[in-house]
């Protein structure tokens, strides 16, 4: 089974961005089985061509690029918000294999 793949797009280092990454990682850790997902962090300031390649407008944006179709959440969130964002990103999969029972 293909891995779940998330990309977090941020623009530059900031406390808020660090927090966002932490919250999302925590949410994944508590909802998803280990080894079944991966998270890539992309700082667009150092990787401008990736912004063009992935057609990113707003930051922060988190995308699920695998499995397709691609889904995105835009904007900052709290610890609770991170869980809701994750649920939105995987709710169409209907595949219990990803989620912890």
């Amino acid at each position: 089974m293909a891995k779940l793949c998330f990309q977090i797009f941020i623009a530059g280092k900031s406390h808020r961005n660090d927090q966002l990454v932490d919250f999302f990682t925590e949410a994944c850790h508590s909802y998803l089985n280990e080894g079944i997902y991966e998270i890539k962090l992309i700082d667009l300031i150092r990787n401008a061509p990736l912004a063009e390649q992935h057609k990113i407008l707003a930051t922060p944006t988190i995308t699920r690029i695998n499995p397709s179709p691609e889904k995105r959440v835009i904007g900052n969130f709290s610890r609770e918000g991170a869980a809701r964002a994750l649920i939105f990103l995987i709710e169409d999969l209907n595949d219990k294999k990803y989620e912890k029972s």
């Binding site: 930051t59 889904k71 995105r72 904007g75």
Partner: protein, 506 residues
Amino acid sequence: MKKAKSIDKIHPPKTTQLPKTKTGIFGFDDISFGLPKGRSTLISGSSGSGKTIFATQFLYEGIAQFDEPGVFVTFEENTADLKRNVQSFGWDIQRLENENQWRFIDASIAFENETKVVGEYDLEGLMIRIHDAVKEIKAKRIVLDSIGSLFLYFDDPSAIRRELYKILSSLKKKNLIILLTSERLEEYGSVSRFGVEEYIADNVLILRNVLEHEKRRRTIEILKYRGSLHSAGEQSFVITAGTGIHIIPLTRLQLTQRSSEERVSSGNMPLDAMCGGGFFKDSILLVSGATGTGKTLMVTEFIKGGFENGERVLFLAYEESREQLVRNAGGWGVDFEKMEKAGRLKIEAVYPESASLDEHLLNIQKLIDEFKPTRFALDSLSAIERGSSKKNFREFLIVLTSFLKKREVMAICTSTSTNIIGGSSVTDSHISTITDTIVLLRYAEVFGNVHRVITILKMRGSKHTKGIYEFDIDNEGMKISSKEFDRMSGILGGMPMLTEREMSKD
């Protein structure tokens, strides 16, 4: 406009004026003096008003004419569609992309249903992409088409406004010329759909596409132009396959044409004599008469006169077909086909309803610039006037006549008066004031016989006979009698009466 001009005279443009760059869009630089660097300009218009074409042309001409690379940020149409849509204008954007003169940034919302906004965000992603592209091709111009989509998608207008402001100010620092577009819902209503777009930009232009007398009329208006002179009011423009947007700057036309003292033959000797030795070389002549009085004949003789003088003549006919014209001319002893073969006559028969006034005008200008005639004949203005508003027709005439004068082309135009006998309409003041010479052709009835008479009503800068002369038409054309027609009076006023001498003949 008069006001703006007089201001111009008192305070000639000083260093306070922003440095402006010509857009290269035909006619636009005449009304705006170009767009300022380091400033943003919003184009607002209803759907189909030509915003995207204007924006695309702005970038295209920047590269083609001024070697200024450009970035096109599209929020709506995808780039493949955009490229395809402007191909008909002859703009090969793919080539410019390959040459690193043009970059597209596709900022359309790609995953509309699969995207959710969960919290605060900024448009840093877009900003990074824009700056990357600007840097890469050393762009001088940028288009954002259309920012309305952002407002539609991200439902917090104040956040979008703040983010756009950030992007614009960073672009301004780089001294780019920035063009934004946005939609509006009504032609004469609020400037933009969300009511905030116009506050983001330094300058605001409005494009309109309104139905007037069952025809579409496109106009551009400069609504706001910070710290800068510009023409006020709506200016007509057309969109044509060859050139894209082509603005017809009426209010900036100035009567700077020189007038010639040189005279040339009208093609009819007695008429030359009536005019004091022929028409002036760059004058505009109006022939007014009821149907069948011989207007087209006068045009034919004018063409013949030009041809015999070794000139090139362009003839635009809006009332009769080529075949009819050639046959009629033949009946008056003039061989149009021979003249065309010699390459010095071009006849264009156009159906008047086939195009709007602006398109007719553009067509005439194009033909004149291509064929480079020294004489121009138009038969008839009345056909063109049908189905246009008075104001538009007057503008058409002013632009046409000033164009003819600029190119130093001598012209004859005909106008059909509605009354068979007499006739008040030399239509009407607005034609007559911009023509140099007016010739009236009239019917006069004497005891059941219809006579044709000719008189010169006005001729600028020259003596001319004031009398009314009878003429006949035969297979050699127009035969003007050398004797004044004194059998009636009141012909011009539309109330012909037999003169006393004529009455006493009984």
